[in-house]
Amino acid sequence: MIQQPFRAPSGGAINRSKPLNFKFNGKPYTGYQGDTLASALLANGVKLVGRSFKYHRPRGIMTAGVEEPNALVQLRTGNRTEPNIRCTQVELFDGLEATSQNCWPSVDFDVNALNNLLSPLFPAGFYNKTFMWPAGWWMKYEHRIRKIAGLGVAPTEPDPDRYAKRFAHCEVLVVGGGPAGLMAALSASKSGARTLLIDDNVILGGALRDSTETLNGESAMVWVTAIKQQLVQMENVRILTRTTAFGYYDDNLLLACERVGDHLPPLEPSQSRQPRQRIWWIRANQVVLATGSIERPIVFGNNDLPGVMLSSAVRSYARQHGVRCGDKAVVMTNNDSAYHTIAALIESGGKVLAIVDSRSTGPGKAALDIANQHEVEVITRAVVVNANGGKYTRKGLASVDVNSYANGEIGNESRTIECDLLAVSGGWNPTVHLFSQSQGKLRYDDKLACFVPHASVRPQVLAGSINGEFATRNCLIEGANAGRLAAEKAGFVPREFVPLPTCDKIMEKPIEACWVIPVAKGRKFKPAAKQFIDFQNDVTSSDVALAYREGYQSVEHLKRYTTLGMGTDQGRTSNVNGLAMMAQLSGRSIPEVGATTFRPPFSAISMGAIASNETGENFMPLRRTPMHEWHLENGATMVNVGAWQRAQCYQRPGETMMEAIYREGRHVREKVGIVDVSTLGTIALRGRDVAEFLNRVYINKWMKLPVGKVRYGLMLREDGHVADDGTTTRISENEYYMTTTTASAGPVMSHLEFYAQTVWPELNLHITSITDQWGGMALAGPDSRKVLEKAVDASDVSNDSIGFMGYQEATIDGYPVRIFRITFSGELAYEIHVSSDYALSVWEAFMRVGKEFDITPYGTEALSMLRIEKGHIVGGELDGRTTAADFYLGCQSFKGSGTEPHGIKKDGHNRVMRSTKGSNMSEAGFGGMQKTGEDFIGKRALDRPGMVCDSRKTLVGLISENGKEIKRGSQLIEKLGDTPPVKMLGHVSSKYYSANLQQHIGLGLLERGEQWMGKTIYAASPLTDTYVPVKVVHHVFIDPEGALARG
């Protein structure tokens, strides 16, 4: 067997000394370094690469680039497999494996090709029309249909490859490395502006790579190499090849995907530090769009047969890869560009039988010269009406029917030419996708028969064939001007002009639009052959006609009804043809039908690249406390709390997690425990107006807080609901130290800054977040003072020296610490805060001196249990719907102690919960006299009817009456057995098994909670089918008098 029978012995940008082995559909082949999968398949004579989406018709490679609608493959295997990959863009590497998609059992024999015969069942809109009815059946059909009309298969295992993300900033970003882009990059860079040139391909040059033209009297690629050399040597230039700019966003931010390692055999991440792909976030002052243009086909019967290709693709495979796409070729065109294909084909060893030119004027002189030079018959005023498969080439092209053609009608003259390749050019569509994404407006140009950019919205300059400028010389001039202009707009002065290469001057005859060839009728063409407009989605000219007849005539309706242009190729080869046909049918002009809107991404981007390195442990920043390692070394189970990692509990050998938690919770109330509270938000406030500021942001009063005292405070939002709670300590005359809950540290900081900077800018204060700079730990339990006394260096920490809600500075092992006499558990407790650098040392000091008192570390679970036992509110209660009064207003003790928030009316309410002389830690913090009339955030919203009405939900305690666990998220209902819907009286906001009370307890928010005091209701969790009778009690379960904390 001949290796690579369609490869020319020389020519092309491939390395014949570097053969590469690959497999397609399990069969081994050989290609060369520099091949794409497509060029290697063509070199091996593989014409059939896939089946079409709907009809399962055999399909081959049609293009040589990003516009490829047919040749989609499943690339690689296992956890690296990727579906819907255009084999025209896959660089060959040794060991590559690819398979056809959408065919079963094989691409050569596809059972579902029956669909082709049943195609009357699959008209446009067939999903909606046929299979959605009757309604219930859809569920049965859907699975089958999706399987028949499927594309590739997604991998089911995690992607093993590495991806990266990188930012770049430049004055001038040039997208596209063709003649215009190269000139633009060079002339912009001469001004000193930071210039970034990105190109989708491996080799710079754009259309010059396939061109037979000369520059400076030499092959165009010699000039390209020289320009690249110049650019590479400049310090202010960066060139990225294999990089697709796929998104154009606000303020000139462009995203591009660089295929760093896709052309290499995959390596395990451990073997290579190189990412597979890298996403670039590029912010450019000016963008030069030199994105070129994409050839479009002409629509005729059976135009999807393998062997029908774009003319530019045939040229590209011949010139770049030394591959001839067929032995006997016919070229069909409506413009001069396709005449260059003749030369390229003959160079690569093919024969050209005829060129069929639809134009009334025929070709330009230079074009005609090429045909004559190679003795190729030129058939003008003619078109191909049908492509035919043959007996022995069942799945490929065998002949074409050529008819005379004038004024959009086919004439009577007809002949058939036997051939195995038809190269088609229907003209060129400027690649306006990025321009369109940047909100640029398009205009239809009748002379050029394409949409061209009309008006830019963003700081950008356009150059080359994106403007519909197809002559090389003019692209070079436009590029040079665009680069200079962009640099100037970015504030740089070009210091030298870039010389223009001498260039062939080709006088071209203009294009004559030719879109969809009228369906050939007559005995010879029965039944009428399918004319494909959108190859990927199998949309035919009769589908567009149906859409027209059924009234789906606007571009957006046409698109959605027929799925035209909705495939992974985004209709690059089909959109304009579809529009043109609709225009013809409806007697409108193409711009009247409209242009489609292009959205990012320009071409498909892998999910891995989008996620880049922000996956797994890098998904979000991880915050660790200074004691993190200690926790790990001492058996802690860590839990994520927001971005923080906290110790959940410290299991001892032979202990279950719950046993550890209960032990820790009991130990705190019996002896002494220590918990890491470094995650609490800490904020430093300094300035002479801090007290006034605190007075306005907390609901309680702050003007008279003495130095050395801690106060508990509640913050409201401006709508009156509770935002957060915490403590603030007066460290010195003008220095305060605030703590917030772990979760609210960020929002509270921002909230304070907003009011300080924008609402009360006249107040003199500075606010600084110091959460990261301070570590903290709480010592809690009856023996906590003994431990503290032992730990501090010669300081008096007796009850007289540091009383309840007192503050004192001291040193421990020489490290300066801040001691706060506050408690969240209700026990005698201290919080010790210390610079993060020393926090671990202080923690270890406590462990050392606490040993004789049997000190034990406890985690967040025991912490939760203890605070619920004490009725202390946290996240479950502070859910953004609760008011301060919902927690405190009804408590008699609260009223009696005069510690209610200032400004809240307390008279006229019957919201007394029950009489208790105690208070919890929260209440204890409110000190001093009530002041009415003073402003604070949220105050004005408090007397709205909904905030003061009697039926609000208030904080209650709940005790399980049957010893069963109260389920998280349970609703509180009056009784069981009622027919739903049942009135929900409230809900369980927190729950735990109290190891100290040996009961399942919870906190809840209950409508008119005070009226249910002592009664039994039910905590209903239908989700877990659990209904627990609960007794409603006061929310402070342990030590309601607060004697422990004060002792």
Binding site: D250, L253, S750, E753, A941
Partner: protein, 96 residues
């Protein structure tokens, strides 16, 4: 992604900022405002189609709250100012 001009730091990417909302809303005087005025302040916001002045905090930068004038229809940036500053009106270009 927008490019926002922080008066303190210069042009910075949107990801460094946190959005808050309408910067033309003023907190009424709590001593004199009617309940209706107050509810208006808490809850009601205009939704203009075009230029709008918004609060943004340079949260991953200088932490300052700034006013940004932005065309919310086109995303065009029309100026920015300090929290207490005013954004200069666009200067109408005189016809040539």
């Amino acid at each position: 992604m927008l490019l926002i001009n922080c008066p303190h730091c210069g042009d910075r990417a949107q990801t460094e900022f946190t959005y808050r909302g309408d910067a033309t809303v003023q907190r009424p005087d709590p001593a004199t405002a009617s309940q209706a005025q107050w509810l208006d302040y808490i809850y009601f916001r205009d939704n203009p189609c075009g230029p709008h002045i918004e609060w943004w905090q340079h949260s991953a930068g200088c932490r300052q709250w700034i006013k940004v004038k932005r065309n919310v229809q086109t995303h065009e940036m029309l100026g920015s100012a300090d929290a207490t500053g005013e954004i200069a009106d666009e200067i109408e270009e005189a016809p040539a």
